[in-house]
Symmetry: C2
Subunit: 375 residues, 2 copies
């Protein structure tokens, strides 16, 4: 099931309420990534407490470990990982594509060797739907081929991007057929491809729109292309997607990318940056980014972000985090992840509020001024 109720519009930016089987998601919203059924270093209770409404799981990873037999014993991913709110699962398409030389893509699907034990595996649109049905995620993504930015050492040509986009469209049809055959009660999203070519993006989204799926994603961005190309596609594609359905920009991105996406009508985002960067001592703050390892923080008694209400900023200093990081203490990535995820979720909260109050442009100008101020 899926309901999408628009609440406010400010320019192209949208404020809406997305209702899924396990609950409500206020959009625009950011989805923390829980690849193996765990948002790295953060307890589900802490995610709930900081206001996360939906998290992501990776079909490819969960298929390999723990495997479907284990997930079935828990009647799906929710009980297995102790998360009661909505979950979106990707299709595995991006992950098998990322295996590079270890996989072969054909019309039927993708042959690859398991990176865990070397087993020969075959992932198809049908298998992806079957796995995601066992996972019982609230949003199921179609199996697609991610069109690479570069092919054979040069920018992917339009004819190459077209044939990849068309394969993803054929796979979308097969996904829907299998999803219906399985009587999956959740919501299936289509994925717009087309590389860096606007005409292909338009063709992809028009043909997906004809399928009347409950939501659409923009795939194949943030895959190594120059920032200007990404911005160009984000400025082009989201606004052309059906207005009454949720739009999800996959794998994006920095705080600035999220703001740009919302400005162009995107409703959902996911990205590993807040947690991955946290593990590398990189904190996002209102006043710019902070590298914990910098010796200037050795005796800095201030919190990472003086404007932040997260658990980390309420209780700990830059000096303490710098020290933990230097000593290799696990608490460093834990506290940094709490902060970064809170920062991302709060950024979305601020944007939702600005859209409701029709002051998104003013808010954005202040956001940009703050971010360039420096910590």
């Amino acid at each position: 099931m899926l309901e999408f109720q628009p609440l406010a519009i400010d320019g192209l930016a949208r404020r809406a309420r997305l209702t899924l089987r396990r609950g409500v998601v206020d959009t625009p919203q950011f989805m923390p990534v829980g690849t193996y059924g765990s948002v790295k270093g953060v307890l589900p209770a802490a995610l709930e407490q900081m206001g996360a409404q939906i998290i992501l799981g990776n079909t490819f990873h969960l298929w390999l470990r723990p495997g479907l037999d284990v997930i079935r014993a828990f009647d799906g991913l929710h009980r297995f990982e102790g998360w009661r709110r909505p979950i979106l699962t990707d299709s595995g398409g991006f992950q098998v594509w990322s295996l590079g030389a270890m996989r072969t893509i054909g019309e039927e699907g993708v042959h690859f060797a398991s990176p865990v034990n070397g087993d020969r595996l075959f992932l198809t649109p049908e298998v992806s739907m079957q796995i995601q049905t066992v996972l019982d995620s609230d949003i199921v993504m179609q199996f697609d081929e991610c069109t690479p930015y570069e092919t054979a050492g040069r920018v992917t040509r339009e004819d190459e991007a077209r044939s990849s986009m068309e394969l993803s469209l054929r796979w979308a049809q097969r996904c829907r057929a299998e999803f219906e055959r399985l009587a999956n009660p959740n919501a299936l999203f289509g994925i717009v491809q087309g590389g860096m070519y606007e005409p292909l993006r338009e063709e992809s989204l028009a043909r997906l729109a004809e399928m009347d799926l409950p939501g659409y994603a923009i795939g194949g961005v943030s895959v190594g292309e120059p920032k200007d190309d990404m911005r160009r596609i984000v400025a082009h594609t989201p606004r052309r997607l059906p207005a009454h359905k949720p739009r999800y920009l996959m794998g994006v991105g920095t705080p600035e990318d999220l703001v740009d996406g919302v400005a162009h009508g995107v409703d959902l985002f996911d990205c590993v940056m807040p947690t991955r960067n946290a593990r590398n001592g990189h904190l996002f703050t209102r006043f710019g980014d902070l590298r914990l390892r910098n010796a200037r923080y050795k005796a800095d008694t201030r919190p990472p972000d003086e404007s932040c209400a997260c658990h980390t900023c309420a209780h700990f200093s830059r000096a303490y985090l710098h020290h933990l990081d230097r000593c290799g203490e696990m608490l460093a990535p834990m506290l940094a992840s709490l902060h970064n995820l809170h920062y991302y979720l709060n950024l979305m909260r601020e944007m939702r509020s600005a859209i409701e109050q029709q002051r998104f442009a003013t808010w954005r100008a202040q956001f940009e001024a703050d971010r360039s101020r420096g910590v």
Copy 2:
């Protein structure tokens, strides 16, 4: 300051209330170890929530990193690490002793090379008191020499243990003089040494008792000796310490060791086992120990310990923990540490309650039956 108010006695086991500058500690009590100012993998808020009343910090480690200048900027260790309740710091004696070939012990103190940057350092009773005064811990330990179980490949001889014990006694006098000179407002504990020789233990404790310090520890156990030797010393020494002062058995131990210690009149314990073993997938439970890596838990939907009220057992299964551990997810040591510390703290809680109700022997018999049942 220190007040020690006995509440109940059952055999040799004691139930008391220990009041320190930052709060009350119900004894018998276990102190989680926060070597570098962090109990590994556990938020201070989680420690409070599970009822930890006092934690330990390591003088040697904190002296090297972050160093005293940083600690001074926070007026001590409490604000630096975000822990409001009492802290006990060790003296650094055990850690420099553990450096082995990298240190030289003399009458004045211990010369050693910093394991962090190779700097030549000199730790003395006076320096240890100065560092612990900057840390401002609620319980300060005297600087001592830990008598090794083995010397030159054979069991340490009585004459060797005597001269080591006597050095620790001279250092205790110097510690007290420096502690008073510094007008440290906290409580200084003496440490009984004497190796595996009861006559030396008696001499050490008699001469420390003459100093009328507010509390005493038993050092030099759990340093590689056979379990029977440790049990012999634990059966011998604690009961001979002044009855109206807290008794602390350093660096001990397994759940069985804690129960044995309490049975012989020990009030305080510390050990890295709950957190270190957690990081190795080893859970302590009422019904025995559980090795998360065992394939038998792959699809086991039960919590680690069905009788346990901790956050981990309330929300997660053996299968999920097994999976997290297998995938190298940080949440595995986090959840295992939460459980193990809760187990240790709850074990102490059960013992306090049993002593209050004069049923410690019955409780102990049930504890032993349960622990051998198997998970």
